[in-house]
C-alpha cells in the first residue's frame, strides 16, 4: 500500500497521526523547556550574589512580585508544558502504538485536540505574565494569595484557565492511552507481556484521570471565589484556605509520579538494550509502578506538615510516605541487576540512564529525610526541598527526556545524532546540574527559605568596597573567594574571609552550575539541528537490540511509515 502523504498544513495542523502528534508534542516541549530554562537562568543570575541587581523596579528597589511571577511561571511551565508533554504526549504518543503493535491511537481526533488544547493553555499562561502584576503565587497557587486579596487583577484568572485547558488536555490524552493499551495490543501481548514503558504509561494515565479532575475542581472553586463571591477558601465567609491545600496536593502528589513514571519505563528499556539483557524482575518492576501509583494517592499531606494538622495525621502521613521508598528501591536495584552480567555499551542514552539512576537515588534519599514530619519542621519550604525535587524532576525526569530523545531520535527522524556531541552534552549537563542543586542541600539545612528574591549575607559592595560592582567584578571576586575557601579545606589551613556569614557561598556555586547547565541546552539545540540536517541515516534496528529483548518499534523502518503495521504483528 502506498504511504499516505498529506500536505504541510493538513499534516501538522489537522494531524490525527500519532507519530506526527508525538513530534508536535516533543517540539512543543523543547520550546517550552527553553523558555522555562531561561526563566531559571535569570533567577540564578539574580541569586548569584546578595542584593537585588536585576529584578528591580524603575527606582532600583527590589521587584518581589516579578520574582514571584518568575518562580510561578518556571514551575508551571516545567511541570505542565515541558515534562508532561515531552514524556507523555511526545514519547507516549510515538511509542505506545508502536510498542503494542497498533496502527495508531484508539481516538486519533481526540489525540489532535489533546495537543491543540495545550497551545492556548501555554499562551494564556505566558499572557498572564503581562496582565496586571502577573501571577506571583508559586505553582501551588495557594489562596488567599491567589485570591482577590493577593492578586486582584486578571492574571491569576488567566493562569487558572491555562491550567483548566492543560488539565483537559491531559485527561483526554490519558483516556486515549488507557483505551489504546487495553484494546489495541497485538494478539498474544497479554498485560504481563507488555513492555515496561507501556505499563508505565498505563499507570500514569490512570493517575491522570483520577488526579487532574481534583485540580480542576479546586481551581474552579478558586475561580468562583475570585469572581462570583463564593468563599470556599475564604475564612471571612466560613471557608478554609487549608481545603485548597488538601485538594491541590491530592492532585499534586500523584502529579509528581505522573512526571516520573514514564521516565521509569524508558529507563528500563534503555538499560536493557545497552546491557543486552532482559530486564531483571519484570513483574516486580511493573507492579512496583502500580504500587507507587497507588501509594502516591494517600500521601498528599506530607506537603502540609507545618500547616497544623493533628499529630496522629502527621504520623500516618510520615509512615505512608516512608513506604514509597520500598517499591522505588526495588526499581533502582532491579536496574542495577539488569546491568549485572550484561554487556554494557556506553552510548549517550545509556549515560543519561545511568546518570538518572544515581541522581534519582540522591533525590530519593533526601525524600526519605523530608518524609519525617518531625524532621520536616526545619526543612519545609527551604532550599533542601528545592534540591530534593530538582534531583528527582530536573535531574530525573528531564534526564530521561534527553535519554529518550537520544535513544529514539534515529527511529523518529531516520537520522542519527552525533555521538561525541551527545556525550559532551551529557557530561556538561551532569556536572552543571549537580553543581547547581547539590549545594542547595547545604543552603536548605542552614535554613535558607525558598521563593526568596534575596538572602541574608553581606553585600558585595560593602565587602569589596566598591559601589555597584559589575557582574564581572562580582564573579571574579567570588571566584577567588571560592578558590581560597576550597584550597583551605583541601589543605586544612584556615582562611579568613571578609564574608563571615550568610548564604552567599553556596548560592554562588549553584549559579555557576546553572550557567554550565544552561550552556548545555545551547549545545543540545545545536545537536538537534545537526541531527536533522547532517545526521547519518539510521537503520531499522540501529542499536542492534537482540531478538530476546526486542520491542516492536525496532521491527519497523526508521522513520516508520505514515501508517505502520499493515500486517498485524503477533507476539509469542
Amino acid at each position: 500500500m502506498a504511504d499516505q502523504q498529506p500536505g504541510f498544513f493538513t499534516r501538522w495542523f489537522c494531524s490525527t497521526n500519532h507519530k506526527d502528534i508525538g513530534t508536535l508534542y516533543i517540539l512543543f516541549s523543547i520550546f517550552a523547556g527553553i523558555l522555562g530554562g531561561a526563566f531559571s537562568m535569570y533567577m540564578r543570575l539574580e541569586l548569584q550574589d546578595p542584593g537585588v541587581q536585576f529584578m528591580t523596579n524603575e527606582d532600583g528597589s527590589p521587584n518581589g512580585q516579578m520574582w514571584n511571577v518568575f518562580i510561578t511561571a518556571h514551575g508551571l511551565i516545567m511541570v505542565f508544558f515541558v515534562v508532561m508533554p515531552g514524556l507523555i504526549g511526545g514519547f507516549g504518543n510515538w511509542f505506545v502504538p508502536l510498542m503494542i503493535g497498533a496502527p495508531d491511537m484508539a481516538f486519533p481526533r481526540l489525540n489532535n485536540i489533546s495537543f491543540w488544547l495545550l497551545v492556548p493553555a501555554f499562551l494564556l499562561l505566558c499572557g498572564s505574565v503581562f496582565v496586571d502584576v502577573g501571577a506571583g503565587t508559586g505553582w501551588t497557587i495557594y489562596p488567599p494569595l491567589s485570591d482577590t486579596l493577593g492578586h486582584p487583577g486578571m492574571s491569576v484568572d488567566m493562569a487558572i484557565f491555562a491550567l483548566h485547558l492543560a488539565g483537559a488536555s491531559s485527561i483526554l490524552g490519558a483516556a486515549n492511552f488507557i483505551t489504546t493499551i487495553f484494546n489495541m495490543r497485538a494478539p498474544g501481548m497479554t498485560l504481563h507481556k507488555m513492555p515496561l514503558f507501556i505499563w508505565a504509561m498505563l499507570v500514569t494515565s490512570f493517575l491522570l484521570v483520577l488526579a487532574v479532575p481534583v485540580l480542576g475542581g479546586a481551581i474552579t472553586m478558586l475561580l468562583t471565589d475570585r469572581n462570583f463571591g463564593t468563599s470556599f477558601f475564604n475564612p471571612e465567609g466560613g471557608g478554609d484556605p487549608l481545603l485548597f491545600q488538601h485538594l491541590f496536593w491530592f492532585f499534586g502528589h500523584p502529579e509528581v509520579y505522573i512526571m516520573i513514571l514514564p521516565a521509569f519505563g524508558i529507563v528500563s528499556h534503555i538499560i536493557s538494550t545497552f546491557s543486552r539483557k532482559p530486564i531483571f524482575g519484570y513483574l516486580g518492576m511493573a507492579y512496583a509502578m502500580v504500587a507507587i501509583g497507588f501509594v502516591g494517592f494517600i500521601v498528599w499531606a506530607h506537603h502540609m506538615y507545618t500547616t497544623g494538622l493533628s499529630v496522629n495525621t502527621l504520623a500516618y502521613f510520615t509512615a505512608a510516605t516512608l513506604i514509597i521508598a520500598v517499591p522505588t528501591g526495588i526499581k533502582i536495584f532491579s536496574w542495577i541487576a539488569t546491568m549485572w552480567g550484561g554487556s554494557i555499551e556506553f552510548k549517550t542514552p545509556m549515560l543519561w540512564a545511568i546518570g538518572f539512576i544515581f541522581l534519582f537515588t540522591v533525590g530519593g534519599v533526601t525524600g526519605v529525610v523530608l518524609a519525617n514530619a518531625g524532621m520536616d519542621v526545619v526543612l519545609h519550604d527551604t532550599y533542601y526541598v528545592v534540591a530534593h525535587f530538582h534531583y528527582v524532576l530536573s535531574l530525573g525526569a528531564v534526564f530521561i527526556l534527553f535519554a529518550g530523545w537520544y535513544y529514539w531520535i534515529g527511529k523518529m527522524t531516520g537520522r542519527m545524532y552525533p555521538e561525541f556531541l551527545g556525550k559532551v552534552h551529557f557530561w556538561m549537563t551532569f556536572i552543571g546540574v549537580n553543581l547547581t542543586f547539590f549545594p542547595q542541600h547545604f543552603l536548605g539545612l542552614a535554613g535558607m527559605p525558598r521563593r526568596y528574591i534575596d538572602y541574608p549575607a553581606p553585600l558585595l559592595s560593602d565587602v569589596m568596597g566598591i559601589d555597584n560592582p559589575t557582574w564581572w567584578q562580582r564573579t571574579e571576586y567570588m571566584g577567588r573567594e571560592t578558590w581560597m575557601q576550597f584550597h583551605a579545606w583541601m589543605t586544612g589551613e584556615t582562611y579568613e574571609s571578609a564574608i563571615t556569614w550568610g548564604y552567599h557561598g553556596w548560592n554562588f556555586i549553584s549559579s555557576m552550575g546553572a550557567y554550565l547547565a544552561g550552556g548545555s541546552v545551547i549545545l543540545f539545540i545545536v545537536i538537534v539541528f545537526w541531527t536533522l540536517f547532517f545526521g547519518r541515516k539510521a537503520s531499522d534496528n540501529y542499536w542492534n537490540v537482540p531478538k530476546n529483548i526486542m520491542t516492536l518499534e525496532w521491527t519497523v523502518s526508521s522513520p516508520p511509515p505514515f501508517h505502520q503495521f499493515d500486517i498485524q504483528p503477533k507476539v509469542k
Binding site: 539483557k277 537515588t361 519525617n372 518531625g374 519550604d381 547545604f442 539545612l445 535558607m448 575557601q485
Partner: protein, 296 residues
Amino acid sequence: MKFFAFLVSLMVTSLPAMASDVVKGQSYADSWQLNLMSPASPMKAEIVDFHNLLLVIITAIVIIVTALLIYACIKFRRKKDVEPASFAHNTLIEIIWTIVPVIILIIIAIPSFKLLYFEDRIPEPELTIKTTGYQWYWGYEYMDYDGLEFLAYPLAEDQIDESKGQRRLLSTDAPVVVPVGTNIQLLVTAADVLHAFALPAAGVKKDAIPGRLNETWMRIDKPGTYYGQCSEICGTGHAYMPIEIKAVPRAEFDAWVRQQGGTLKENNSITTIPDSAANKQANPKVDVDNIANPGR
C-alpha cells in the same frame, strides 16, 4: 587521595552542628555552612540528633548504590567474545532488597515518631506569645500581659549596623524578647494571606493561616539573638519580613516588660517566675489556679 582528604574535611566542618551540646545556639547561617544550625532549644537538639542518624543512613545508601553502579559499569562493560548473561529473576535477592529497605525504614520510623510526638507535646506553658503574620511584617502579642503588643518591621539596608550585631534582611526594629529556659507557647495566625513563622535555631516552623490559630512551643536555653524568616510565599515582600528573637535571662526580661509598660494579667499562664533555670527545674508548675486557666 587529596579528594578524600577534602571530603573528610567537609565532614569535619559540618561537625559543629553535630556536637550540639557544647556550642551555643546559632543565630544565622555561617558562610559555607553545610549542616543544620546548631540548636538553641531542646526541640532543635532532638532534630539535629535525628538528622545525624538520617545523614549516616542516606549517605550509606547513596554510597552503596553508586558503588554497585560503578562496579557493574566497569565489570560488565562490553568486551569481545563475552556473551551477556540472560537471567532475569532471582527470588532470593528480590526478597532481600524488599525486606532490607523495610528494616531500614523501621529503624528510621521509630525515632521519627518519638521526635514527632515530642515536638507536639507542648509542656505546661510559662509564657504565651501570639504572633500574627501581615503583608509584610509580624505582629506580636504577649498574652499574659496587658499593654504588651507590638509590630516588628525589618530594618532598612541603611539602618543596619553590623558592629551592633545587626544583620541585613534579618534584623527588625522591635526584637521579640523572651526569657531563657522558659516554656513558651506560640500561637500563630495570619491577618491577610498565608505566612509561616520560622526560627531555625529553635526548630520551630508553623504556618500562619488566616482564620486558624496554630500552636507550637519553644524553650530557648541559650541567651542570644536568633533570626527566622517568613517561610510561606506571601507576595512581593516575602523575603522582607524577618523574625528576630532575643533570649535574655528572666530578670532582664521582666525589666524589659516593665520598660515596655506591660503589666501581668490576672489570668496569666505564668505559673512561676523562677529566677534561674535550676529553680524552674526544682519547682515546676505549682500554681493550681492558673493550671485551670480556661484561656489555654
